[in-house]
């Protein structure tokens, strides 16, 4: 039985439809990440689950309880906010204690849980400080502690790491992941950061314009994006999308006339010749000199080079468009703007989409 399920959720703000008949179910112990660009409805969906706003229609289930009409405090959820939302006049201990204030637990149990959370998150020495006396990372720990002490059925995170600096963000990411592995709670986590999503999630729901574009494991959404939106959204730098036309014999022709070998592609249904395609080529799958089993090969001029230290990003002139290729510094270190370079793309890494519907074929 799923732990959390959204059934035919509709949410309107006035006349504006934000979520239209959305369905989603998460299993017990899953780490679900709601990922999408700003305004895609992911935070709205989280707020609906938390009970901070009401659904226009539809049903939300947690376990076998229908929580749609319940007050937030009765839903047995705990939430970590982007701004931490610690109570500024309470000490760390007071913050954790207030999290349990509605639960009517015996004093002894409350103390035990606070000590447990403090130990788990290593905030013991901070217990008598106020939020203003804590650093950003410490505040975030306290916020997580306040959620953990409740032993809630589901933990909600609303972009919890976006206020931290890059190094701290990586540390906290690992720590949240570790907590999830140790305690194995069901988590619903909202973010617009795909690295966070890919590293922490066991399931990702990619949202756009109030719809779920794809729901699957991180590997699924990366290896087999369901449509053009997911293909373009996941991966950094994003996937090269080149128009092509299907030809007989498992071949296709790209816009510049070069052939595309589709013989190794696992088609759902083989498209008839003449169908307009979009071929998705990830920059990191290109090779400068590599196997002969190539789906396509180009010799193109370098338009622009970006060195990040560990990689070199080549922007190649593909007609008017730009083809982005990631290469190792050893192979591409000598290249300058304007140099011609040969690249090839392996057959088995191809992604193909119907140009009309945008769906994977």
């Amino acid at each position: 039985m799923p732990r959390v399920s959204f059934e035919h959720i509709v949410k309107k703000f006035g006349e504006v439809m934000v979520l239209n008949s959305l369905n989603l179910a998460v299993d017990d112990g899953d780490f679900l990440v709601l990922l999408g660009p700003s305004g895609c409805g992911k935070t709205t969906l989280l707020n609906l689950l938390a009970g901070l706003s009401d659904v226009t229609s539809g049903r939300i289930m947690i376990g076998n309880r229908d929580v749609t009409e319940l007050d937030p405090k009765d839903r047995r959820l705990a939430m970590v906010f982007q701004s931490y939302a610690l109570y500024p006049t309470k000490t760390v201990r007071g913050n954790l204690r207030f999290g349990l204030s509605a639960s009517k637990l015996p004093q002894e149990e409350i103390e035990k849980r606070i000590a447990w959370a403090a130990d788990m998150l290593q905030i013991g020495p901070l217990m008598d400080r106020r939020p203003a006396q804590l650093s950003g990372g410490q505040r975030q720990r306290v916020a997580i502690g306040r959620a953990l002490v409740k032993h809630a059925d589901v933990l909600l995170f609303d972009e919890p790491l976006s206020n931290l600096d890059a190094k701290l963000r990586t540390e906290m990411r690992m720590e949240i992941k570790k907590l999830h592995e140790e305690l194995n709670p069901t988590v619903v986590y909202v973010t617009h950061d795909q690295i966070e999503a890919m590293t922490m999630a066991t399931r990702i729901a990619i949202m756009n314009g109030g719809k779920i574009e794809q729901f699957g494991t991180p590997d699924d959404v990366y290896e087999r994006p369901a449509n053009l939106f997911v293909a373009g959204f996941i991966g950094s730098p994003s996937m090269n999308l080149l128009p092509a036309t299907v030809e007989p014999g498992g071949q296709a022709r790209l816009a510049d006339g070069s052939p595309l070998d589709m013989s190794a592609y696992a088609f759902g249904a083989v498209p008839p010749p003449g169908t307009a395609l979009m071929a998705g080529l990830r920059p990191e799958h290109f090779a400068l000199a590599g196997p002969a089993e190539a789906a396509c090969r180009f010799t193109l001029k370098v338009r622009h080079i970006e060195r990040t230290g560990s990689d070199v990003m080549l922007a190649l002139a593909f007609g008017e468009a730009t083809l982005t290729v990631r290469a190792a510094p050893a192979d591409a270190g000598h290249l300058r703007t304007g140099d011609p370079v040969s690249v090839q793309f392996p057959k088995d890494r191809l992604n193909l989409f119907d140009a009309g519907s945008g769906r994977r074929i």
């Binding site: 901070l52 937030p72 939430m79 701004s83 939302a85 610690l86 500024p88 006049t89 207030f98 204030s101």
Partner: protein
């Protein structure tokens, strides 16, 4: 410049031009001095006269210091001076003013803080319209609704008592205070209230445990505002107080204006000072907390 003040070798110096007194700053100083004198001279006369004997006052030198410092006028004003037909001094009015102050202070601040909290942080139906109404009410002059208010208090059976005065103070302060609290609470980060709603969910518990401790600054501001305006009020006191429940200001006015025989300037001035001192004390005591409250930045999340 570098030639005249040759610095030791190896150090780089950027000498700053000396600040000079300009014509503009002189003008400002003169203006400020005059403004200060404007307030200080009457105050000086008030204080010195209240310590003089009537014999010295009759000589007419109003700027001279008292020849004999005497508290007689202060004692007389407090204990014996007549206002109207009663001759009990100001102490009666002082007690009345305190009895009016405390209930109206507690009621007006408590009710408007809770209303402001509800309007700012909970989704209240028609909140926008209600706020606009409050805004309008804040600008209705008291004189316009005075007569209906008298009828209301008469019907409530409290007209002419302390409670009528306190009730009217409470009611009249409510619109402005509610707007002040609402605007203050509106700036509390919404995530804090969301977290509190998920953690506890009780309207009163959140108010008392989370919101009230964050309201230190605004409470001090409102407290100073209310104490001063309630203590200094004359019109409400004279209209609703009747004979037995007149606040100190009404008492003072009667004492100063309705006097038969010679005018006792020293008693009048002592009485005026006695009436003015309580709000001053509040300024000094609470003003300190006010500044501390701002410095502590209590609301920073």
């Amino acid at each position: 410049m570098t030639e005249t003040s040759s610095p030791p070798a190896g150090t780089v110096m950027f000498p700053r031009p000396k600040k000079r007194i300009r014509g503009r700053s002189i003008a400002i100083l003169v203006f400020l001095t005059m403004a200060a004198l404007f307030f200080c001279i009457p105050l000086y006369v008030l204080v010195t006269t209240s310590f003089k004997t009537m014999d010295q006052i009759r000589e007419g030198a109003i700027f001279s210091l008292p020849e004999v410092w005497t508290f007689e006028a202060w004692r007389y004003a407090w204990d014996e001076a007549c206002s109207g037909i009663t001759c009990e001094g100001l102490k009666r009015g002082f007690v009345n003013s305190l009895e009016i102050l405390f209930p109206s202070l507690i009621a007006s601040i408590a009710i408007s803080a809770v209303t402001g909290y509800a309007l700012a942080l909970w989704s209240v139906r028609w909140a926008g319209g209600f706020l606009f109404l409050l805004f309008l009410c804040a600008f209705v002059p008291f004189q316009i609704i005075m007569y209906p208010l008298i009828v209301i208090t008469v019907n409530m059976g409290i007209y002419g008592s302390i409670w009528a005065v306190a009730f009217i103070h409470t009611v009249l302060a409510m619109p402005v205070l509610t707007l002040i609290f609402r605007n203050y609470y509106k700036d509390i980060p919404p995530d804090i209230i969301k977290a509190a709603v998920m953690d506890n969910g009780s309207f009163w518990r959140i108010f008392i445990e989370i919101i009230l401790p964050m309201s230190g600054n605004i409470l001090i501001v409102v407290l100073i505002m209310q104490i001063t305006s309630i203590w200094n009020d004359y019109l409400i006191g004279v209209t609703f107080g009747g004979l037995g429940a007149q606040p100190m200001t009404v008492n003072l006015a009667n004492m100063v204006t309705v006097t038969t025989g010679t005018v006792s300037y020293n008693v009048n001035m002592a009485a005026a000072l006695q009436t003015a001192i309580p709000p001053l004390v509040i300024y000094f005591v609470l003003g300190k907390f006010f500044v501390e409250g701002i410095a502590a930045g209590a609301v920073k999340g």
